[in-house]
């Protein structure tokens, strides 16, 4: 029989996979430009679920996309997106979420720690995404960086900054086995259910 705690993690990881997919459609405006939130939820998944379940969430997201479910940005899926110009960014989500989860597990809980973890992960995303873009588009390094990195830096900065307070609130809601956070939810108190 599956323990209810592990069932909750299964559901939470699936939820974050769905959030990453929904992030392809959710955006906040910076001035006139919409900034999409898929990678925001990738970083958050690492912070909140930890390295193992974070990888599970991103893995399920990528698997769903490869099998043709329209979970990649633009509402499409399939290996065509992976082999296309933005495929590198997508595949890089996997090591990125691991990096965020692993770093935040090693160090003591603090905002600085979370930011370092997310910066490292974001660097990984571009370290894979930009060369992939360059190869597919046949551009020079300069142009690849101008198209594939620079326009996103400010948006990423805001997402990293916002992920810190969001993670701080969301973490206690999700009981990770072995974590020191108190298990909130249906056993902990009345706030979760009203009958």
């Amino acid at each position: 029989m599956q323990s209810i705690d592990s069932l909750r993690m299964i559901v939470m990881a699936s939820l974050f996979a769905a959030l990453i997919a929904a992030g392809a459609f959710l955006a906040i405006p910076i001035g006139p430009v919409p900034i999409y939130l898929a990678n925001f939820f990738v970083l958050l998944a690492g912070l909140v679920l930890g390295p193992r379940w974070g990888v599970a969430a991103v893995g399920v997201y990528l698997l769903s996309g490869i099998l043709g479910l329209p979970v990649f940005s633009g509402g499409t899926g399939g290996l065509g997106r992976i082999f296309g110009p933005t495929g590198g960014y997508l595949l890089a989500y996997l090591p990125a979420v691991f990096i965020v989860g692993w770093i935040s597990d090693q160090l003591r809980l603090s905002a600085i720690r979370d930011i370092i973890a997310m910066l490292a992960a974001t660097a990984m995303i571009y370290a894979i995404g930009v060369p992939w873009l360059k190869i597919v588009m046949g551009m020079t390094w300069g142009k690849s960086l101008a198209v594939g990195l620079l326009p996103f830096l400010m948006g990423d900065g805001i997402k990293i900054a916002a992920a810190v307070p969001v993670a701080r609130v969301v973490r206690p809601l999700i009981p990770r086995s072995g974590s020191t956070h108190p298990s909130a939810g249906f056993e902990a108190g009345k706030q979760s259910e009203s009958s």
Partner: protein, 255 residues
């Protein structure tokens, strides 16, 4: 958007629909990299086979093309980028921008490949019910020791269930905030935190109950496996795909 999710699959009785989902999935996974590595001759062979075989499947292409319009953007960008930036002899000059011969050829070839991979994926999704996709994934993952395949199958199913719910919840959160003039605030950090926090709190609370519902229905990682039978014609089909892949990656010589 939730509609697009629902209508990937088009019910039917074609040979592709009846092709065993495990072999179909393996075929997809073999064909896609083969297409990317193939010579133009191989691509021509595959394109011909694709049109010939799926022309009779009775699929609705209009809906698929509409859903792919964003991908069309990417394709155009790839073509233009390669056509302009690949060094070679200019064949077309438009103002400051010159299309080179090698560039046009390389751009067209790459785009052809992407179109073929995407079309193959579309046909797969259109002829395979998600239940069969999950069954095939579970079967393919079962020899891998450290991945619980049934769990992966359930998670993929949950992702499909949860995406419309999240978009719904996001819509509600945004409406509630707009009603309190959040659009007057221009600071994106404020907008993001005040969007994400209430939405996530709600959706996580609801997801908690989903876990209880799974437990209440005795979820476990064993349980009746899906029923799948491989017929002789399925082996022939898989064999044909294998031969096609070998032709494309030049392992088998064709004059």
């Amino acid at each position: 958007m939730a509609g697009a999710l629902a209508f990937c699959f088009q019910p039917g009785e074609s040979a592709l629909h009846r092709f065993d989902p495990r072999l179909k999935t393996v075929s997809l996974l073999l064909l896609s990299p083969s297409i990317m590595a193939s010579l133009p001759a191989g691509l021509a062979v595959f394109s011909f086979a694709l049109v010939a075989f799926t022309g009779r499947a009775g699929l609705d292409w209009k809906a698929a093309v509409y859903n792919l319009r964003y991908f069309g953007f990417l394709l155009a960008a790839v073509f233009l980028s390669r056509a302009i930036f690949t060094p070679g002899k200019p064949v077309l000059v438009l103002g400051p921008v010159a299309f080179t011969d090698l560039g046009v050829f390389s751009g067209a070839l790459f785009c052809w490949r992407l179109i073929l991979v995407t079309t193959t994926g579309l046909i797969y999704a259109a002829t395979t019910h998600s239940r069969e996709i999950r069954a095939a994934v579970e079967w393919l993952l079962s020899p891998v020791p450290w991945i619980p395949e049934k769990r992966v199958g359930v998670m993929v199913g949950l992702v499909v269930r949860l995406i419309p719910m999240i978009l719904d919840q996001a819509g509600k959160t945004i409406s509630a905030q707009k009603a309190r003039c959040v659009e007057c605030r221009k600071n994106p950090y404020y907008r993001l935190t005040h969007f994400a926090l209430p939405m996530l709190r709600q959706i996580i609370k609801r997801a908690d109950q989903l876990a209880l519902a799974l437990a209440a229905r005795c979820y476990n990682e064993s349980g009746t496996p899906p029923a799948m039978i491989i017929r002789p014609v399925d082996w022939w089909g898989a064999g044909a795909v294998l031969v096609l892949c070998l032709i494309m990656i030049r392992a088998v010589f064709i004059p």
